[in-house]
């Protein structure tokens, strides 16, 4: 029971803090934001890893491997694209 409450609390608190912070992200950065959160959503990679912390059957091995590949693809691709995108955003050099 404690676990359940803890999980719900963790979810709600993260959601609310995320909500508060992200609603202050300027529209300028919405695409990079989405791209980055896209990478974060591949945190399922942790779940995929944990699958392998027990002995696995062949089917589980195959499905688990696909999950790991998919999640890694998502994480790496997401962060790299975001980085590439953010490098494009340049500030005007102030000449004074």
């Amino acid at each position: 029971m404690f676990n359940l409450i803890l999980m719900v609390v963790v979810f709600l608190v993260s959601f609310v803090i995320g909500y508060l912070l992200i609603s202050r992200v300027p529209p300028l950065l919405h695409t990079p934001l989405m791209s980055m959160t896209n990478a974060i959503s591949a945190v399922t990679i942790l779940g995929a890893l944990i699958l392998f912390s027990f002995p696995t059957s062949l089917v589980e091995k195959i499905l688990g491997s696909i999950a790991v590949i998919a999640a890694t693809f998502n994480v790496v691709g997401g962060f790299v694209i975001t980085d590439k995108m953010l490098k494009l955003f340049k500030e005007k050099k102030k000449i004074s």
Binding site: P32, L49, F52, S53, I66, G77
Partner: protein, 656 residues
């Protein structure tokens, strides 16, 4: 202690997101978030350990390499499609993890985990299929217009009911039956995602992609519930929050309820796509474009004198700018205006484009500094004091009807108040209404100059006129695609011998099948058609041969370079399809370029040259292609497959 470490990692993630509030620090924010994810990764490895190191390491490597490679090659135009694709892949990971956790017998799951697992299956699989559809639509691999199946709403609701029924049934089923039910849930979820996504199209795309973002987050959080892992839950929840915010912002900016986007009414949308398809078709109908390009000259002169006189200029970009790939030209024009001492800003409507912040990314890529990009609420105070507003491919977001007329689909939608400016210059493709279907009175205002046609060419022309560099207009402004198609058809119709020169661009556009249709048509008209195959055309040895063979071209007609080169002088038409470097005369004529001395196909020897390439940029070598400037050359820019389709249609209807 465990909890403490978990919360530290979560705090680092949140710190990363927090840095996104400022553009200058966003890059560090991204890296911080990546670091947090790495920490979480190491933590899981340390705590749980891995039994089968081999497959895990291999999979990690494969995924990382693929993700990195794809991310490196993607350009900013493809970003929306790419992000949607990644959402989809993430969805796969989510439902697979839930599935394995649910079915494995090693540890019994408690009820909460089981419920989360079933929800995870559903949300993961619908994220997967929905994102794949979104990605295909955004990449134009699928028609972006909404598609309705018969009884679409009934299908959606019965699918939903089936999901719920099977989901509940799993809890009462024995292990074996439950296993089947889980698979069924995945299939139903996939169907559900499909049904939702195919009827969302066009300008509603930002809402779809944002809500999929939220879904991916929920799927991750649910995974976390299954395995009782705080990190997963927190990370997923943050993403869910972000996606929800973006969905909300997009809906608000379009004045649409989320329910109206997800359950669009068939009737109200029906009238609009009709309209839309006409405007898109007009890009290949020569008549309309040509009629306008004549009387546009006065417009240009007027527009340029207004630009010269204006002291303050606001540029309003829309999706049309993205479609015409005009952002470089727009940035150049803005640069010129700034250099002339004018105050230039960009007004960014929150839903301009196909995803949140789309315009910002495109303009950033074109080198525009972000302090010039001003959001709607701020810039709306400035319009009335502005001398000139330059609208580039935007329609609904500047439509005054939204504020003035009741009962239209956009009534009440916040708009950019472009109509308040002293003068307005619109560089749109045509005057037809935008996605909403509501006629835009701004285009007809007395102080508006409307320059119809492809935005890239229009803006380019404006820039030339502004800088006084008007001389080599013909060479600098490629002929209107429609005109070029006409010209090409005339040449092809009278040709007796045609040599086709395919390149990697053909493969990219998957144009080979349409090409073969075209050549069949030419052969029916009595022309001989051969293919000239350069040894390095394509991405692997013999690539073109394989592709053409797949499209049923007999291999006798595939000629090698040495065989075909002497024939060009006797050839009526050399038709280049998505090839650049392998036909670049600079390889023979210029010293010191990367391709100097490379043997090429001598297309320049033919009597006429038709180039069907995506754009007139240099190929992989970076050397500008002199063939494009040849007087004999007709350039048809754009997707090669579309070009082929147009040529086939035009040739079929061709009358002397």
């Amino acid at each position: 202690m465990t909890l403490f470490i978990d919360f530290t990692v979560i705090a680092i993630l949140i710190a990363g997101i927090r840095q996104f509030r400022e553009p200058r620090r966003a890059k560090r924010g991204n890296l911080t978030a990546a670091f947090a994810l790495c920490l979480a990764f190491v933590l899981v490895l340390y705590r749980h350990g891995i039994v089968d190191v081999g497959p895990v390491a291999l999979s990690l490597l494969a995924g990382a390499v693929a993700g990195y490679a794809l991310a490196r090659f993607v350009d900013m135009l493809q970003v929306p499609a790419m992000i949607a694709f990644q959402h989809g892949v993430g969805g796969v990971a989510a439902f697979l993890v839930s599935f394995v956790e649910l079915t494995r017998t090693i540890q019994a799951l408690n009820l909460v985990s089981e419920i989360s697992g079933v929800l995870g299956l559903i949300i993961g699989s619908l994220t997967f299929s929905g994102s794949m559809i979104a990605s295909a639509k955004l990449a134009n691999k699928m028609r972006p217009a909404p598609r309705f199946l018969p009884f679409h709403n009934y299908l959606v609701f019965s699918n939903l009911a089936a999901l719920a029924a099977v989901g509940i049934a799993t809890f009462f089923a024995s292990a074996g039956v439950a296993f089947c039910f889980y698979i069924l849930e995945i299939l139903l979820g996939t169907c559900f995602g499909l049904l939702l996504a195919i009827r969302i199209g066009g300008a509603d795309m930002p809402v779809l992609i944002s809500s999929l973002n939220a879904m991916a987050g929920f799927a991750a959080a649910l995974c976390g519930m299954v395995i009782e892992n705080q990190l997963l839950i927190a990370f997923g929840a943050t993403v869910a929050a972000s996606g929800s915010i973006l969905t909300y912002v997009m809906c608000k900016a379009m004045n649409r309820k989320i329910s109206r986007v997800i359950f669009p009414s068939y009737k109200s949308r029906q009238a609009v796509p009709e309209n839309k398809s006409e405007t898109t078709v007009s890009s290949i109908q020569p008549v309309q474009v040509r009629r306008e390009s004549h009387d546009a000259t006065d417009g240009f002169t007027g527009a340029v004198s207004i630009m010269r006189a204006a002291e303050s200029v606001i540029i309003v970009p829309g999706y049309g700018m993205a479609l015409a790939k005009a952002q470089q030209e727009v940035a150049a024009l803005a640069g010129e205006l700034t250099a002339m001492g004018k105050d230039v800003k960009y007004a960014i409507h929150p839903v301009a484009g196909r995803m949140p912040g789309h315009m910002n990314v495109l303009l950033a890529e074109a080198g525009v500094e972000y302090d010039m990009l001003v959001e709607m609420d701020v810039i709306n105070n400035d319009f009335h004091a502005t001398d000139l507003v330059l609208v580039i491919g935007a329609c609904d977001v500047v439509n005054p009807a939204a504020a003035e007329v009741e009962g239209t689909p956009i009534s009440g939608m916040p708009i950019l108040m472009a109509y308040q400016a002293k003068k307005v210059v619109c560089c749109n493709f045509d005057r037809s209404p935008g996605y909403s279907g509501v006629v835009n009175p701004l285009f007809e205002q007395p102080n508006t100059i409307f320059l119809e046609g492809d935005a890239r060419k229009t803006v380019h022309r404006l820039l030339q006129l502004l800088t006084g560099d008007t001389a080599p207009q013909e060479t600098l402004i490629p002929v209107f695609a429609a005109d070029a198609t006409d010209e090409a058809v005339r040449i092809l119709a009278s040709a007796k011998s045609v040599v086709v020169l395919p390149g990697y661009g053909m493969a990219l556009a998957k144009a080979q099948f349409k090409l073969v249709e075209l050549t069949a048509l030419l052969e029916k008209r009595g022309a001989s058609v051969k293919y000239a195959i350069h040894p390095v055309a394509g991405r692997m040895p013999g690539h073109m041969n394989v592709l053409l063979a797949e499209a049923d071209v007999e291999y006798e007609n595939l000629l090698e370079m040495d065989e075909v080169n002497p024939l060009f002088a006797e050839t009526d038409v050399a038709m280049v399809i998505g090839a650049c470097d392998v036909v670049n005369p600079a390889a023979r004529e210029k010293e010191g370029t990367p391709i100097s001395g490379m043997p090429i196909l001598l297309a320049q020897d033919a009597r006429h040259i038709i180039v069907c390439n995506f754009d007139d940029k240099p190929g992989y070598s970076g050397v500008p292609n002199k063939l494009y400037e040849n007087k004999k050359t007709v350039m048809i820019l754009g997707d090669a497959r579309e070009t082929m389709t147009n040529l086939v249609a035009a040739l079929q209807n061709f009358k002397v």
